[in-house]
Amino acid sequence: MPNFDYEAPTSLESALEMLARPGEVRPLVGGTDVIDQLKSNRRNADIVIDLKRIPELLNIEANGSGLRIGSAVSCTDVHNFTAENGGYPALSESADLVGSIHIQNRASVGGNVCNAAPSADTIPALLIHEAIAHTVSASGAREIPLIDFFAGPGQTVLQKGEILKELVLPAPSANTASAYLRFIPRNEMDIAVAGVGSLIEVDPSSGVVTKARIALASVAPTPVRAYAAEEFLEGTVIDAAAIDETADLAVGSAVPITDVRGSAEYRKELIRVLTKRTLNICLERLA
């Protein structure tokens, strides 16, 4: 471990003052990524700022206009809250896939976003639910559409002294369903070889898709949207042929690498299969 100081501010104001200090200032919530990265010298720190004692960051609430998730809310709490309140099934199931129960109890969804792994399970679900990242620093606040939040593997657009304050998701309209699936070679506790989140809004009288959002994990340097697939699906009547065509188009948005988890070709095929499956789950959820 590098030698670092530790602070646990109890207000956002004092946290922002500490975050603006010189040197490598490392925010901490669950620590399930950052403590491992510090131990293995993949990230450095002069000071670690534990954000878990700041009440605003621990808040999760839903109302008619949407869902607000404080950046320190654990995966367990996000899963339980969304499972109970409904409306964001892809998010609920993805928060239940991150690591083990012990990891989910500690790791926050906000931390999963800020760690910016291309394979992060909660990010496609947040992208299809059109999350806005609300950030804050001593010099002001920003609202960043989540798709613009990532700059590369492990890299975000956060500036020095700036932290994610909350994720804000609009309320899905009626007749909307979402789903997230990932492929791993075992049943649990692994990193996605590929992942797909899909959201569709369907006009119940005509079967026409009025909104489509598809996001992919582990097939590009950042999580990506499958824009061509979305554009094709919107305005079409969703049936097996349309789902096949959508899945083919989603593959075109995948630019994977070959690594120990899978070859580029295999990952592309997974995107095709998982896109079909998530769309079919959405249809089941709408039925």
Binding site: G31, I101, I103
Partner: protein
């Protein structure tokens, strides 16, 4: 590096201790409080040998910084039995031979205690899924699953 004075309750006992800001909870438990029941396996959150409860929630103590537990309650395997009387979870692991070398056992007992407090009657699939964060290289898991099922029965009769 700096020292932090923290107050924490471990297995019902209050401690006021000075911890290094870079120590993990695992190091503080084992090296400072001599609670060596909690084991170090992988040190990165994969194996679950170091599982403890922090405010009732199962956590990998290798991925918790010691100063984080200021004001929090920690339960280790040493805190399960009450004055030498094993808990139903511990009895079930003994009776069903839910262990061989024993290195993963403290983590499994803590994880099982947490699982059954939230879900008193898990299915076999739920047990295997929810305990996936705890690795055992000896048993092949079947006897651990049977131990958890038996523990659930014992707790429902208790």
């Amino acid at each position: 590096m700096s020292k932090k004075q923290i107050k924490t309750t471990v297995n019902g006992v209050e401690h006021e201790i000075l911890v290094d800001s870079t120590w993990t909870l695992l190091e503080t438990l084992r090296d400072q409080l001599s609670l060596t029941g909690t084991k170090e396996g992988c040190s990165n959150g994969n194996c679950g040998a170091c599982t403890v409860l922090v405010n009732g929630k199962s956590s990998c103590s290798c991925l918790v910084l010691a100063p984080e537990i200021d004001g929090r309650e920690v339960t280790t395997v040493e805190g399960l039995a009450d004055h030498g009387h094993l808990t139903p979870v511990q009895d079930a692991f003994v009776e069903n031979s839910g262990l061989q070398c024993g290195f993963c056992t403290p983590g499994f007992m803590i994880a099982t205690t947490a699982l059954l407090s939230e879900n008193p009657h898990p299915s076999e699939n739920e047990i295997r899924l929810k305990l996936a964060g705890n690795l055992c290289r000896c048993t092949g898991y079947d006897k651990i699953v049977r131990s958890v099922q038996d523990a659930a029965e014992r707790l429902s009769k208790a």
